[in-house]
């Protein structure tokens, strides 16, 4: 598509004459156009819908904060908090388990292992939805192969619970953490470690005072990414635990497209807006910390 921009049709000769180059922001225009259409318009539609109510009989629309109020109380609030709790816990566990795994791969010096782990992580990080849910149901569900084989039911195992869902989420969150943190681990220089050890530091001290502080921003970045992935996940949870674990994405789906509730679309949009705000809050914490980052790793 073409946009009616000024200056694009100015001949290069003319600009050369004036000894001026095209303004820098022109290069960003394609991105801005894309962002406006793919992100801006839907965002405006969400905000607009979240604050409007359609009168069913007259079809008239008026603006109100009622949807937002409704989206922050009762079962909706429970679901929002449930989503935050589930995402935070799975993200923290994913980061905790993904970091040592990535470090082991990076420090192993085996090219073959590295390629294999990173490729597998790329695949697994994108494995989700109903297939993932069904894989776990068939393996660890009430009549799952492992459940029956190992007699897990007697020990109180239940896949359809909060912790069961955390386990399933870790299946794609750990590989995602490995993918995000590996480049940062590559940036840790051998010289730093040697310098620390030559000065009498123990391995633990090296990690505590050198490696982790340098890695902190990337770790946080990974955490944010994991949180976002878990927070937005929907199909896996819907197929596996239904409403046994209250989640905001499930509530949005019920309100937005169902066979039961009529006229709840705008509450769904308000819930989406709540999600955007939560994501925004998370980013607001992360960005300032990110600032002190690249210095070390890019040097």
């Amino acid at each position: 598509m073409t946009t009616a921009l000024p200056r694009t049709d100015v001949a290069p000769v003319a600009s050369a004459k004036r000894r001026r180059r095209a303004p820098g922001w022109l290069a960003v225009v394609p991105l801005l156009v894309f962002v406006t259409i793919a992100f801006g318009l839907p965002a405006v539609a969400i905000v607009n819908g979240a604050f409007s109510v359609d009168d069913a009989t007259t079809g008239a629309t008026h603006y109100t904060g009622a949807n937002l109020t409704a989206s922050l109380q009762g079962p909706y609030l429970t679901a929002l908090l449930g989503s935050v709790k589930l995402s935070a816990i799975s993200a923290a566990l994913g980061a905790l388990l993904g970091l040592p795994l990535a470090q082991a791969v990076v420090s192993s010096r085996s090219r073959w292992l590295r390629e294999a782990v990173l490729t597998a992580s790329g695949v697994l990080a994108n494995f989700g939805g109903v297939p993932l849910a069904f894989a776990f149901v068939a393996t660890l569900g009430n009549a799952g192969v492992l459940t029956v084989h190992l007699g897990l039911k007697d020990s109180g195992w239940d896949l359809y619970s909060f912790w069961g869902l955390v386990l399933v989420y870790l299946y794609f969150l750990i590989p995602l953490m490995v993918l995000t943190i590996t480049p940062a681990l590559d940036g840790l220089r051998a010289q730093w470690r040697e310098a620390a050890l030559n000065n009498g530091a123990t391995g633990v001290q090296y990690w505590r005072h050198v490696a982790l502080p340098v890695l902190a921003p990337s770790l946080l970045g990974g955490l944010v990414l994991l949180f976002g992935s878990a927070f937005a996940a929907y199909a896996t949870a819907a197929a596996m635990v239904g409403s046994a674990v209250p989640l905001v994405t499930l509530q949005i789906a019920d309100a937005l497209s169902g066979n039961v509730l009529v006229g709840q679309e705008n509450v769904a949009l308000a819930l989406s807006l709540d999600m955007v705000l939560v994501a925004g809050l998370v980013m607001a914490v992360y960005l300032p910390l990110q600032r002190r980052s690249a210095r070390w790793l890019d040097a």
């Binding site: 069904f134 149901v137 009529v262």
Partner: protein, 386 residues
């Protein structure tokens, strides 16, 4: 997002215009609506076959359009596959079935967001509350099929904007090989032997059959159309006892033995039974003795259908003896069942295969239903979470 340079206002404005153009340029509707009928009416406003000048003229007009766009109709749902094939064969009109697993809300969204495009659905199969609200919003075209007068009063809109098409009862399906003794009532479901085995096919705030399941459980436990709370309490008890499993039952989970007891519409459960036989699974279907809840879906025509004649012919086909019997063969109870039974046109063999019920079904009013939905939306999560 954008730095505030004066030029950006212009830029943003032109972007919006371009976007609007790009978005509206797709799929303008072909001008089928101008198919003139006998007395100068257009197909889009015809309210019966007579307006076209009889069935033959309607068939001709529909054939001229050549296509019918339907939505959210699964082939394995109440024998819809046979209905689609039958219609295509009989009239040579191609049926495009969009997102077969969609929901009623998806159908309404498709109608409202694609007004005037040829991708809009021509006909709708809606849950009754959605049919009512769509009629209120003026999305549906009034049309009386030939057998309109024979549809029971309680099951049609007086203005003929929608009427019930087929329905069923909430039933309990059970894998006879895995479960020692199949439950026959809601009370049975609480027995400790069914630990982790009882499932719904979804979430009652989203799935119509799960909602019906909670309603039936309410009727079984001293509730009424006005009071669905006992149904919630029942499922809370079922969850506490460990019998309720939150997995959505699908043919796949049934086959794997993950949901050996599934509460669902009888036409779906009975359909599964037939399908599972070939896989060596004995799927028994009973209508719970203590809670019988029936619900019908409704047919309607999109007011802005881009194939208005084909849409009307589809309705005539669904409400013909042939169409109604095809639903019956899919274990669904068609709206004209009682009349056809009297007239002797009902497929007796198919009718004999339906799960047994006692008495005639009664239905909650719209007000009772919306009250019940509010209670469920508020209380379901609490009842089964944890």
């Amino acid at each position: 997002m954008i730095v505030s340079l004066p030029r950006n206002a212009v830029l943003g404005g032109s972007l919006a215009v371009v976007a609007a153009l790009a978005l509206s340029a797709c799929g303008a509707a072909p001008d089928n609506a101008s198919t003139k009928t006998k007395d100068g009416k257009t197909a889009a406003t015809a309210t019966s076959a007579a307006d076209f000048g009889g069935m033959d003229a309607l068939v001709k007009a529909a054939k001229k359009e050549g296509t019918l766009h339907i939505i959210a109709v699964p082939r394995d749902w109440a024998n819809y596959g046979a209905l689609i094939d039958g219609f295509q064969k009989k009239y040579g009109i191609k049926i495009e079935d969009e997102s077969p697993d969609g929901t009623s809300q998806d159908e309404i969204n498709a109608v409202t967001t694609r007004k005037g495009q040829d991708r809009a659905p021509d006909v709708l199969d809606l849950g009754s509350s959605f049919a009512l609200s769509a009629a209120q919003q003026g999305l549906l075209a009034p049309y009386k099929v030939a057998s309109y007068t024979e549809i029971p009063e309680a099951q049609k809109d007086p203005q003929a904007r929608w009427y019930n098409d087929y329905g069923g009862y909430i039933s309990i399906g059970c894998d006879d090989k895995r479960v020692k003794e199949c439950p026959t009532s809601f009370k049975d479901l609480l027995k400790p032997e069914y630990k982790g085995q009882v499932a719904l096919n979804g979430n009652p705030t989203k799935s119509g059959s799960a909602f019906g399941g909670v309603y039936a459980a309410a009727l079984a436990n001293g509730g009424s159309f006005d009071n669905i709370q006992p149904g919630l309490d029942f499922f809370a008890k079922l969850k506490k006892s460990g019998n309720y499993t939150p997995v959505e039952s699908t043919p796949a989970t049934v086959e794997k033995g993950e949901t050996p007891i599934s509460i669902d519409w009888d036409y779906l459960n009975a359909g599964y039974a037939k399908e599972f036989k070939s896989k060596g699974l004995d799927w028994k279907v009973v209508i719970p003795s203590d809670g019988q809840y029936a619900q019908y879906y409704s047919q309607a025509i999109n007011k802005d259908a881009s194939h208005p004649a084909a849409a009307r012919l589809w309705q005539e086909y669904l409400y013909s003896t042939e169409g109604q019997n095809l639903w019956l063969q899919g274990y669904a109870r068609p709206a004209l069942m009682a009349t056809m039974d009297k007239a002797g046109t009902l497929d007796k063999t198919a009718a004999a295969q339906l799960p047994k019920v006692t008495g005639t079904p009664s239905f909650p009013t719209e007000d009772q239903q919306s009250k019940a939905k509010t209670v469920i939306a508020q209380g379901w999560g609490k009842a089964v979470s944890g």
